[in-house]
Amino acid sequence: MSAVMITRKVRKWEKLPGKNTFCCDGRVMMARQKGVFYLTLFLIIGTCSLFFAFECPYLAVHLSPAIPVFAALLFLFVMAMLLRTSFSDPGVLPRALPEEATFIEMEIEAANGNVPAGQRPPPRIRNVQINNQIVKLKYCYTCKIFRPPRASHCSICDNCVDRFDHHCPWVGNCVGKRNYRYFYLFTLSLSLLTIYIFTFDIVHVVMRSVDNGFLNTLKETPGTVLEVLVCFFTLWSVVGLTGFHTYLISLNQTTNEDIKGSWSGKNRVQNPYSHKNIIKNCCEVLCGPTYPSVLDRRGLMQDDSLVSATGAAQSSSSSNSTLQSTHAVLCLQKTTAPLIPNEHTPDDAKPSIAASAEKSPSPKEELPPASKLPPLASPETDAETSIAKDKTH
């Protein structure tokens, strides 16, 4: 035995495939490139700070104190929606575990039959009937699954996302099933905020110019010029985007489907997901249930790594590692039912209950299938079996 197994507990997000970055120990999930997101933050916070610094004191006194209050509320709402869109899981579909992938491969091969040598196998497509329309489900070679309807693989994040809309660099994340409504509310509230600031900038300049003259006003409140510039350019893009997404929501379509033209044209399939009623479509997208994340990011799992041990310390370290690996195997929870020993269980078969109380429901993916056996039999047998199997790999 020249190798020693060291185990440590890690959060599942550390082992997730894909090109996401995680922060706050798995609570925050974003794409890798965040530069444009920081620009968005800077523009919003910067413009609003200028507004509060230059315009609000004058407007609060001369018009109404409600103006800065409402601006503050709107600003907070915009920030909340932006952060919610950027930091949440858009609806990432986890990749298939090896057995599921094999099962699907077997089904595909059975469906294709014998392909003559030299011929390319047919494309991996599954046809399903949704509301009396035929929809084709494509196979994702990266995630090894047939993508559910409306899901798509984002190449930037390297994940399949359910109800994939688009990857938005401005929020630094994909927009999918789970965060689409936050994205829409972000664009909507940002449009309102931009219009609000733009309007009151103009009002402020006009009111001040009446008293002091136009050029003096600009000298007194230089921030106004900057704000008006930012708001002017933002207005066209954000208001346009809000309008576009309102149109998509009323038809219950995603940006991805709109770009690909999945439901447009006479010869193509009509959108099977639309309720053919604008109000119903809007309600489904905006007031539908809040879907949970199926990526258990903060769950704990065992991470076994083989480390080669030096000869001298071999016996003691190997016995330690055997204990640790035993602990590792016993900590595996394949079942939803924790294994609790009772008076009938022989002493050497009692699993570690501290481990089972820890709530790590999924089995660790790296261990070979046989050792996914829920630990119940003699712990030594399981440990030896798992070490032996690990060595053979």
Partner: protein
């Protein structure tokens, strides 16, 4: 090899899981069946009730179909778009969704019910038959994974595992 120190247990649950333990003690994983999603009604979460051939000798068709139908009903309840979901959505929107930091969503409540239901089904029906259902949420809500266990005494692989334990014994 040092013995393991048994840790404190909840004695009340002990007898409930006796069946599952007996199964694990004598069984090894033989195969897995994956029940796929049924998309005929759209993207709502629903699983196919088609009875897989691998389970034909292990469990009665009606029991299996009951389990899947009950699960489908739970998911339909979670994803129902009606008065309660509108209320929850509007209230959450009004608080800029900060309310979800302290309140559990309806979907999460139903998922807890589903977890409990699956656990109960495993104990009462599936474990005695050498089967085990994995909660779909652990597989990305794509499949219901049913593991099929073979009795170690009857399968040929049992000799392999016992010889390994024998050779690397304390």
């Amino acid at each position: 090899m040092q013995g393991l120190v048994p840790t404190a247990t909840d004695g009340n649950m002990a007898t409930e899981f006796h069946n599952l333990q007996e199964l694990r003690h004598s069984a090894s994983l033989a195969n897995k069946v994956f029940i796929q999603r049924d998309y005929s009604e759209g993207t709502t979460c629903k699983f196919q009730t088609k009875f897989p051939s691998e389970l034909e000798s292990r469990i009665e068709r009606t029991l299996f179909e009951d389990t899947v139908k009950t699960l489908n009903n739970y998911y339909a309840e979670a994803e129902k778009i009606g008065g309660q979901s509108y209320l929850e959505g509007c209230l959450a929107c009004a608080t800029a969704y900060l309310i979800f930091l302290c309140m559990e969503t309806r979907y999460e409540k139903v998922l807890k019910k589903i977890a409990k239901y699956i656990q109960e089904q495993n104990e009462k029906i599936y474990a005695p038959r050498g089967l085990l259902i994995t909660d779909p949420i652990e597989r990305g809500m794509r499949v219901i994974e049913i593991s099929i266990y073979e009795d170690r005494g009857s399968s040929g692989s049992s000799s392999g595992s016992s010889s390994v334990s024998g050779s690397t014994a304390r």
